[in-house]
Amino acid sequence: MRVVIAEDDALLREGLVLLLRSEGIDVAAAVDNPDDLVTALADHQPDAAILDVRLPPTFTDEGLRAAVEARRRVPGLPILVLSAYVEDSYAGDLLAGGAEAVGYLLKERVGKVATFLDALHRVVAGGTVLDPEVVSQLMVRRRADDPIRALTPREREVLALMAEGHANQAIADRLVVTETAVSKHIRNIFAKLGLPPGEHGHRRVLAVLTYLQTSSA
């Protein structure tokens, strides 16, 4: 796997490079600003981009805008965004152009290397990975007419884990239920959110998007 990193803090940038390389991931370029990121993406055609939300010059959401721009230039480019804090509107912006192959994690998640690598692989495989913090923040702010409210607590748990990017088996393991039970919950979720029957993976993404859009509206 080849990745490009955009992180302005030198210590973190070098640490990320070290971490990824020692896990056998090829870091094609590690840059510290959005312009160099665009160039690096064009030069190296990586499998994924890992970037910080706050980049120069204003250190607000340049990274996020760079991500949106990168996805516009290379549709479907897997992007994993790291953020110092949870801001669900960021997640909304990021997923507005499609939720496939997008990840949004708190920076400190890189400390749990195995989980972080797992998230990266799932994003590269086209999955959606949202930080558990983002998910729990989204869960508490629901409106009365929100279709999510029709879900049972267990179904919400399943949806939250789907939003974090987990596959059925992983969800089953976490909730200590059978995979069959998880599949049943997921079918109920799709029905309650009014998602048409069709391709399974796509509907998962749609469910997550519904979940996000109703929350950020």
């Binding site: 640490g15 020692s22 920076k107």
Partner: protein, 391 residues
């Protein structure tokens, strides 16, 4: 009698300078009339000559003991400027003419006394008049009587006229309470907005320092420990340098945290007072720097914090940009806390580049303070800050 003479003397001393400013007002009158006519078309227009008029009117206010107001924008909408414009013709014409007459009374009295000694020098067809023509010794003999009349007039009219004119000018120049309050409200609103803005900027700065500095370092600690964990499982020999790096990052995070705290409220202020804290700043400044303090430097905590920030920023600027060999810091505590910082560097400090001076200005404005920077190319640079201390 003696009392009356004193009163006459005091009144004369009050009237005479008014006569001088009256002539100044007379020369300013045509310009002001013209400017007012222009401004009638557009009341928002800044009046030309208004600063001179305002200075003259304030001079008069000081003379008669009326409160001296500030003018922020000298247009016809400004109540102070309107009052100044009303006062100008009064002062230029009525005050001048009457003052001339009144001030001449004592001289006329002396003159009348002396007329009998020289009236005969004047030709018969153009005799001296004081106030009636003196054409014979008989008429001249009445002159001492006339001198008494002038003297009595001077003793009675002069104090009275002085009082009347002083009160009238006071009434014209006094800015109505409502307008004064409105002006004060406008100033307070602006300073409150500046305070909120400065407060917001402070919060944003602290947030950024914490997120981009301290938090990043802690993330780096967690990340390196994560790599250590993986290496310990695979090849423990590789782990040691990573542990050291994690340790360094943790140390960095702590020192960064200290900096953030110092930026919020420097603990040294509480421990050693403003002068001690600033002495500490000066000791750390790479450019040799002299400190002078006048008066006890205690001030409200927020003011001390701002003063400390101003000196810290200024010294950083001097060390980084000025190329100075020496600098000096002077702190004077009277009603306001005044900070003057000079250096012998190359000057040309530009407020539009960098955030140092702009930051100082914002922080000082939050306290309704004043910031002045003079920094001609080639130097020297002088930064003068006044911070009101609420006393």
């Amino acid at each position: 009698m003696r009392h009356r003479l004193t009163t006459l003397w005091l009144s004369t001393r009050q009237l005479a300078p008014g006569l001088a400013t009256g002539f100044a007002a007379l020369t300013l009158l045509p310009l002001s009339v013209f400017a007012t006519l222009l401004a009638l078309v557009n009341p928002g227009r800044i009046l030309p000559g208004a600063p001179v008029l305002h200075a003259l009117a304030n001079h008069e206010r000081l003379r008669i003991g009326a409160p001296v107001p500030e003018v922020t924008e000298p247009t016809l909408r400004d109540p102070v400027t309107r009052r100044n414009l009303l006062w100008l013709p009064w002062h230029a014409v009525a005050n001048t003419v009457v003052s001339l007459f009144v001030l001449a009374l004592p001289l006329a009295s002396v003159n009348a006394l002396l007329v009998p000694t020289f009236w005969w020098l004047f030709p018969a067809d153009d005799p001296i008049a004081s106030p009636y023509p003196v054409t014979s010794w008989g008429v001249a003999a009445t002159m001492p009587l006339m001198a008494v009349v002038y003297a009595v007039l001077a003793l009675t009219v002069t104090p009275w006229i002085t009082g009347v004119f002083g009160r009238t000018a006071g009434r014209i120049l006094a800015v109505p309470t409502g307008a004064r309050l409105a002006q004060r409200v406008a100033e307070l609103t602006a300073s409150r907005a500046a305070a909120l803005e400065a407060h917001g900027a402070e919060l944003r700065r602290i947030e950024r320092d914490l997120h981009d500095g301290t938090q990043n370092k802690l993330v780096a600690v967690a990340m390196h420990l994560g790599i250590v964990e993986r290496e310990l499982r695979r090849d423990p020999d590789n782990a040691l340098p990573l542990v050291l790096r994690a340790q360094d990052a943790a140390t960095d995070a702590l020192s960064g945290l200290r900096d953030v705290v110092r930026g919020i409220y420097p603990p040294v202020l509480a421990e050693r007072g403003l002068d001690g804290a600033i002495a500490g700043l000066i000791a750390r400044c790479p450019v040799p720097c002299a400190l002078t303090t006048l008066g006890p430097l205690r001030a409200p905590a927020a003011v001390e914090s701002a003063a400390y920030f101003v000196v810290a920023e200024a010294l950083t600027n001097i060390a980084k940009h000025s190329g100075a060999q020496r600098a000096s810091v002077t702190l004077t505590r009277e009603d306001t806390l005044t900070i003057e910082i000079t250096d012998d560097g190359h000057g040309g400090a530009d407020e539009t580049t960098g955030t140092g001076l702009a930051g100082i200005r914002r922080r000082v404005a939050a306290f309704e303070g004043r910031t002045e920077v003079t920094s001609p190319p080639g130097g020297p640079t002088l930064l003068r800050v006044e911070l009101p201390c609420g006393s």
